[in-house]
Each structure stands twice: as C-alpha cells, then as structure tokens.
C-alpha cells in the first residue's frame, strides 16, 4: 500500500539538492552542461530508448534512487568518461557509465538519508519502470545537451 501521509521519519529532498549533486558530477567529471528544467518531462523523446540507472537503498531507510535519461545523454556521458567520441561507445561501456553516474548520485545522497543504510550495486536497464509500492520523496527535471533527464528518490514502504 502507498503511504498517503509522510511518516515522522520520512525525508524529503528538495529539487535544488538533487540539482546541486548533478551539477557537481556533470561539471567536474563530464564537462557537459546541465540545467534545471522548469517543465516536468511529460513526453520523453520517442526516437530513442530511455535508460534507467537504479541504486536500491536498504537499512533504516528503504528506497531507491533513479537516474532516467535518453540513451543519447548516457552515450555523451560515457564518451566524456572514456575520452572517446559518442559513436565509439560500446554498449557495455554505456551501461558501466550510467551505473557509475547513478552510484555517484546515490553515494552523495546517502549522507542525507537516515542511518544506517547501505547502497546496492547499480543496475541499468531500458525503459522507465516505477513500482507502485514506492512513493516519490524528491525529484528534479533537468536538461543536458538539449535533452531531458530526471533524478528521482523513491521511498519504499518497509515490510513488517
């Protein structure tokens, strides 16, 4: 069941916190532009698949952190990380780069979550899959290189 009201220990992260984290990663490691988007993404570009990086958080706080973006953004990020052109990025490198970006975001967010909690290894898949057992505790819509991306923090209801 979804929680309809925040629990006493519920956390909520502002979009600005998520933006700052993304900016620090994008500027220091990727040297790609990134800005907050005033408009939520209602339609993702349909000419290419979406990639979703996910890290699961377990412990006193349970949830997951997602990075969602079109494959083109992930490809540019991977190219920047590997120092090659986007056309030279292999699928395994794409997944590796996307996973590392998600893990970096998650590791930095971890310090803002109730402790103790631990992070899973990142997983990367195609599409935009959100389970109904999770509720959004923070999210930000961004644009990088003219394309949309989204960072979402989900809280999962603890199973008793």
């Amino acid at each position: 069941m979804l929680q309809t009201t925040p629990k006493p220990d519920a956390i909520a992260l502002s979009a600005n916190v998520l933006l700052e984290l993304a900016e620090s990663i994008w500027s220091s490691l990727l040297e790609l532009d990134i800005q907050r988007s005033d408009d939520p993404v209602t339609e993702w570009p349909c000419d290419q698949p979406l990639l979703t990086g996910r890290v699961v958080v377990d412990g006193d706080w349970q949830g997951s952190i997602l990075l969602v973006c079109p494959k083109a953004i992930a490809c540019k990020a991977a190219a920047a990380m590997f120092g090659v052109s986007p056309s030279e990025v292999a699928e395994t490198d794409l997944s590796d780069a996307m996973g590392e970006l998600t893990h970096m975001l998650s590791g930095n967010l971890k310090s803002l979550l109730p402790t103790p909690c631990r992070l899973s290894q990142p997983s990367v898949g195609e599409g935009y899959n959100i389970t109904t057992e999770e509720r959004i505790m923070g999210q930000v819509f961004l644009r990088s290189e003219g394309l949309p991306l989204q960072i979402i923090l989900f809280e999962r209801e603890k199973k008793s």
Binding site: L29, M81, H103, S111, T115, L119, Q121
Partner: protein, 121 residues
C-alpha cells in the same frame, strides 16, 4: 613509482587515470584491477607503492581488500576514492589504516593536494 587503481567501473578507472595525469602524476606507472580479488592477485605479482581503491565493489570490497593486505603484512599506502563519505565509513577506513578518502566527484586539484603528500618523484 607504481599506482594500483581498484574500481569495478571501467569508466571510473579511466577517469581516475585521466585525473592523475591532469594533477601532474602522468609520469607514474599505473595498474588497474576490477575488484578486491583482482587487486590482491596483482599485488601478489607486483606490489604497487600506492593503492587508490573504490569502497563498494562486488566480490571483495575496498575495505576487505585493505583488511586482507593488513593480514598479509603489506605496508602499501592505501586510500579510498568513493561516493560515500559518512562518518561511520571514515572511521572504519581510518581504523583499517587508510591514509585518505577522496570523494567522487573529484577534481584534479583534489588529487594534487591529497596525493601530493604520498607521491614521490
């Protein structure tokens, strides 16, 4: 002087190598390993002078690697490069003998400042 970079992400290993060059350490010999087990194998064959290790890796974590090196009697300068920087983790790292923790994302300036104390020409 030899540096061993231990990280399960090939992308991150590339970035660490590039940042070492940007920080002025491009002349050093660099080895790489994808997890703690691979790192141990590499160290047994050819011990480095400095290890830069991720914390959270499959198979054998960075902390497990450091514990294994301590048990085997190695005295190699060891530092973590990690996304996680909680007080608990810092305490565990220091207790195990890690000399420093560099948080991801990092800059060449951070590398120069932190590693400069441990890298001899």
């Amino acid at each position: 002087m030899k540096i061993l970079i231990v990280d399960d992400s090939n992308a991150m290993r590339m970035i660490v190598r590039r940042t070492l060059r940007e920080a002025g350490f491009g002349h050093l010999e660099v080895q790489q390993a994808g997890d703690g087990n691979e790192a141990l194998e590499s160290i047994h064959k050819d011990p480095p002078d400095l290890i830069l290790s991720d914390w959270n890796m499959p198979n054998k974590s960075g902390l497990d690697l450091l514990h294994a090196l301590n048990e085997e009697g190695y005295k190699i300068t060891f530092g973590f490069i990690t996304t996680e920087g909680t007080a608990e983790m810092r305490a565990k790292a220091a207790q195990a003998g890690a000399k420093f923790i560099i948080n991801k994302p990092f800059t060449a300036e951070t590398f120069a400042k932190t590693l400069g104390a441990f890298i001899k020409d």
